[in-house]
């Protein structure tokens, strides 16, 4: 004969969620397809994580809830210990409350008076029974509540994890009473997080997980099942605070490094003041459509020696490990080496190394440019500092005057063509951060990283006075010659020389792409030479931040012309708003004309804006565009007949280069799917 029977019971709650003043309702199944039988005289224990459905189960047995689906059958009188002191009026004394609530709790009217006496005796509150319950402690409350619920003489007693509140004596008494009731053949259902109690008292146990019965059987078995799924990490060994800090610290003169593995932030200090802010020094790996940040990993710090500190970050899913080695090299400098170890092939999309500093610096300087942090244009809280040349080894940040702070220099030792530096100001909830980013350009064609160990960043952070930015270490440029005409391809930039005299300037021959309102030039891409012959080269450039690469085919077409073909290759969904092929000429060029007959001269003003529209002199359809200047041969940019969709543009550059631009542009109204197409086919002719 069963005291309690559950047959395919489902119970759901409609819960209101309020996020940012928006109210939404969600239906949550507290119990799903629960079938259970509790025999008479049996003590059943229910375990599970918070929210597994234990209290809902008890409420269904108590009759407080009706099942949405399925059947609940309970035979006999039910008393529950779910909320202690239910119905107690704080103004009334313990005795009065017992008397007032006896019948409501279910105590039989006939035996009420003697039961009340027994209840008061069992509670063992002494003279406090005659004091208003508002003066009771939690434990006293529990004694009285338990006493009242137990003397109801129920057939089924439900206990929802309230025994832990009482003191030793109270708990002891309660357990004794429960065992006594068990002897009398009463059925009991106990919910507890105290595994010892469950093991001691219960005949059978049930493990609930997300509303379903996951395990049912002997208490010992069910408990080990529960603890196995609870994934409790072993308690970390507590160590002396100061000792722990020193094991996570590296000092190099005024520069100090502290690896904060509690907050998972790598911090740098200038003597006593922290110079990092926000996220500190960290890396972001983009792979498998996710981006992995240090906060997702398990950190382990090891001090290898007085001058070396190692940090290992283990990313769980998929499994790969980042190992960071910090070593103090000389006064005020710490060398950083970052390695990545993968066990399985990993499709890497990007790898950024970032240093986020507090707003303590006033100016910045690179090998080519310098400036301040007055930026107004940005979106999504990020305000980029525009650099013409991003392929630089490092940046120097100069402290604000009068702060007594040292300058900071951040340098990457990598091959300059393979990493791009950028500098942003990040504004977040009232705080400003200076964010330095060194992005590794990942070749779009070589997508899968073989398993193994590889170095992906090596650099140095140093503090000092009057630091100078490191200079550009040029890559190997490639030469093409035809008579006195010479073409030099240098990592996304094509320079033209005639009889030793440079005809182009600045970025010279280059392409650029605008996506998401940001321009990215070919000089910022990673270039590989695919083919090099005497008069022809084919190079492929991989753009950072975009799934784009371009193939340039450059061939000497004679002593006066250079044939150029540009093919756009898209590797993923992206909206390339504008694509351009441009020729930048020195400001000596004063006049221009087109094959359609338009002509004009270049103004002597150069804009300081991001978009150089104010100094656009002409745009339209033309087969070729010409520019001429004193002492220089005519420079003609020609497009092929098949590329009529290209629009010609004649304009000045901005004030950084103070040069002239002749371009062909293609606008794309919508996102292009992955694929390849020919962007430009034409030539650059050098006239008489």
């Amino acid at each position: 004969m069963n005291a309690v029977e559950f047959r395919q019971v489902w119970e759901k709650y409609r819960i209101k969620f309020i996020i940012d003043r928006k109210v939404s309702w969600e239906e949550i199944w507290a119990l799903a397809d629960v079938s259970l039988e509790v025999g008479r005289g049996e003590i059943l224990g229910i375990v599970g994580q918070n929210g597994a459905g234990k209290t809902t189960f008890l409420r269904l047995v108590a009759g407080m809830l009706l099942p949405d689906k399925g059947d609940v059958k309970v035979s006999g009188r039910v008393s529950s210990l779910m909320e202690l002191g239910a119905g107690f009026n704080p103004e009334f004394t313990g005795r009065e409350n017992v008397v007032l609530n006896a019948r409501t709790y279910g105590i039989d009217g006939k035996v009420l008076d003697e039961q009340v006496a027994k209840i008061i005796e069992f509670a063992g509150l002494g003279k406090f029974i005659d004091a208003p319950v508002k003066y009771y402690s939690q434990g006293m409350y529990m004694r009285l509540g338990f006493s009242l619920a137990v003397f109801v003489d129920p057939d089924v007693l439900l206990i929802d994890d309230i025994l832990s509140v009482g003191d030793e004596e109270a708990q002891h008494k309660c357990i004794e009473k429960i065992l006594e009731l068990k002897g009398q053949g009463k059925t009991m259902i106990i919910v507890s997080h105290d595994m010892h109690m469950i093991e001691r008292l219960c005949d059978r146990a049930v493990l609930l997980e997300h509303g379903r019965v996951v395990a049912c059987g002997l208490p010992a078995d069910v408990i080990s099942c529960y603890l196995g799924t609870a994934s409790v990490e072993p308690e970390p060994v507590q160590e002396d605070g100061a000792e722990r800090i020193s094991r996570h610290t590296l000092e190099a003169g005024a520069l100090r490094l502290f690896i904060d593995d509690k907050d998972k932030v790598i911090r740098f200090y200038d003597k006593d003041k922290e110079i990092t802010g926000g996220k500190g020094f960290y890396s972001v790996i983009g792979a498998l459509e996710k981006s992995f940040e240090p906060k997702d990993a398990r950190w382990e710090v090891q001090k290898l020696s007085e001058k070396e500190l190692a940090l290992s970050m283990e990313f769980p899913d998929p499994l790969f490990r980042q190992a960071l080695y910090f070593s103090s090299s000389g006064d005020g400098a710490i060398d950083i080496k970052m390695e990545m170890k993968t066990d399985a092939p990993l499709a890497l999309v990007y790898q950024d190394v970032r240093l986020e500093l507090a707003d303590l610096y006033q100016t910045w300087a690179t090998a080519f440019e310098e400036g301040s942090f007055d930026v107004w244009q940005g979106f999504d809280h990020v305000y980029p500092i525009r650099w013409k040349n991003n392929k630089i080894p490092g940046v120097v940040l100069k402290a604000k005057d009068g702060g007594g702070r040292l300058d900071v220099s951040f340098v990457s030792f990598a091959d300059t063509g393979s990493r791009i530096m950028s500098l942003n100001k990040r504004k977040e909830s009232g705080s400003d951060y200076i964010s330095l980013n060194s992005s590794g350009i990942v070749s779009k064609t070589r997508e899968l990283l073989e398993p193994g160990n590889r170095l992906f960043f090596e650099g140095r952070l140093s503090l000092g006075r009057d630091l100078q930015p490191q200079h550009y270490t040029g890559e190997e440029a490639v030469d093409l010659k035809a008579g006195s005409l010479r073409f030099v391809f240098d990592s996304g930039r094509g320079m033209i020389f005639m009889a030793g005299k440079e005809l182009t300037s600045g970025m010279s021959l280059y392409t650029s792409v605008r996506a998401g309102n940001i321009w990215l030039d070919s000089c910022q891409a990673l270039w590989e030479i695919e083919l090099k012959k005497d008069k022809k080269i084919v190079a492929v450039g991989h753009w950072p931040h975009l799934p784009l690469s371009q193939k340039w085919s450059i061939e000497m077409g004679g002593e006066n012309s250079i044939l150029l073909g540009v093919e756009t290759r898209i590797h993923g969904e992206v909206h390339l708003e504008i694509e351009q092929v441009s020729l930048m000429l020195p400001s000596v060029f004063k006049a221009w004309s087109t094959s359609e007959g338009q002509r004009g001269s270049f103004a002597e003003e150069f804009t300081t804006d991001y978009d150089i529209l104010p100094y656009r002199f002409w745009y339209g359809d033309a087969e070729h565009i010409e520019a001429s200047g004193d002492g220089f041969p005519k420079m003609i940019l020609k497009r092929g007949p098949a590329h009529r969709f290209l629009r010609g543009v004649v304009e000045n550059t901005d004030s950084l280069y103070k040069a002239r631009l002749v371009q062909y542009q293609k606008t794309n109204p919508r996102k292009e799917p992955p694929g390849a197409y020919s962007l430009f086919q034409g030539a650059i002719e050098i006239g008489a």
Binding site: Y13, R14, R59, A62, G63, M64, L65, L66, D68, R77, V78, S80, M82, E83, G85, A86, G87, N89, E91, F92, L100, N101, A102, R103, T104, Y105, G106, G109, A149
Partner: protein, 260 residues
């Protein structure tokens, strides 16, 4: 649950209902010195203050005006007090709901009963006053009991409706307090219907409370049985609201328990 089974359960737990009502009653006045006397004092003070305003300030002419008002005021106090009090009943008593296995409507019914006891106590002291004014009133005592019973049914039903509505829309309690203010004015407590012009008089006949108040005024003040129309309407209203309230309660009972 089948209706007859429910009735049986209510009967089986009747002691619990009584105990709950008593507990609520004690709880309401616990700690206060005047206790149950408030059930008498409040209507009396209200009646006399209205009387003062209308006879002295507005110079209204009515015989024994204060007692006329009183005849309607005590039932009104029961009506508004009970309704306001029971609106939050399910929330206020949520802990005891989790504890016991008694029929859940007891939570509201006990609140109503507790107020009904106050109501009866009030009349215990005021009835002699009416008898003093009009000796014939005493013969109408049986009718008074019947009316009180019907009135109880009406208020109980309405309380059930409001308290169930309040569980799903917490605003009901607030809305109720405003509605009651308005309701007071459209119930002929301190004016008699005869003094109202015809187009307005129709409005008052749509108010179910009007009929009860008229009946009370008849029995207590005019010492005559209320007209057949009024009596029958009282009967119908009482039965209708109790049935409606109970029906709504039963329909929403399962969902109700999850919201508390």
């Amino acid at each position: 649950m089948a209706f007859s089974a429910r009735i049986k359960k209510i009967y089986a737990y009747r002691a619990v209902l009584w105990e709950m009502s008593l507990k609520q009653l004690k709880g309401k006045y616990s700690g206060s010195m005047l206790g149950l006397w408030w059930a008498v004092i409040i209507p009396v003070i209200l009646a006399f203050s209205i009387n003062f305003i209308f006879t002295q300030v507005f110079k209204a002419q009515a015989e024994n005006y204060a007692f006329f008002i009183l005849a309607g005021m005590v039932p009104w106090a029961f009506f508004s007090g009970t309704l306001m009090g029971s609106a939050e009943a399910f929330f206020a008593q949520s802990s005891i709901l989790k504890q016991g296995t008694f029929p859940r409507e007891f939570v509201v019914i006990s609140a109503v009963l507790a107020d009904f006891i106050s109501f009866c106590t009030g009349f215990l002291f005021l009835y002699p006053v009416f008898i003093f004014l009009e000796p014939a009133v005493i013969h109408l005592l049986p009718a008074f009991f019947c009316l009180a019973l019907l009135y109880l049914m009406f208020v109980a039903g309405l309380s059930l409706l409001c308290s169930v509505a309040n569980v799903f829309f917490r605003d009901t309690a607030h809305f109720l307090s405003i509605a009651l203010m308005f309701w007071f004015w459209i119930t002929p407590i301190f004016y008699s219907l005869e003094t109202l012009g015809l187009p307005w008089r129709r409005l008052f006949f749509y108010n179910p409370l009007t009929y009860f108040i008229l009946a009370f005024q008849s029995l207590l003040f005019k010492a005559s049985l209320p007209s057949a129309a009024v009596s029958l309407t009282c009967l119908a209203t009482g039965v209708f609201f109790l049935a409606a309230g109970y029906f709504v309660f039963l329909k929403f009972e399962p969902k109700l328990m999850k919201r508390i």
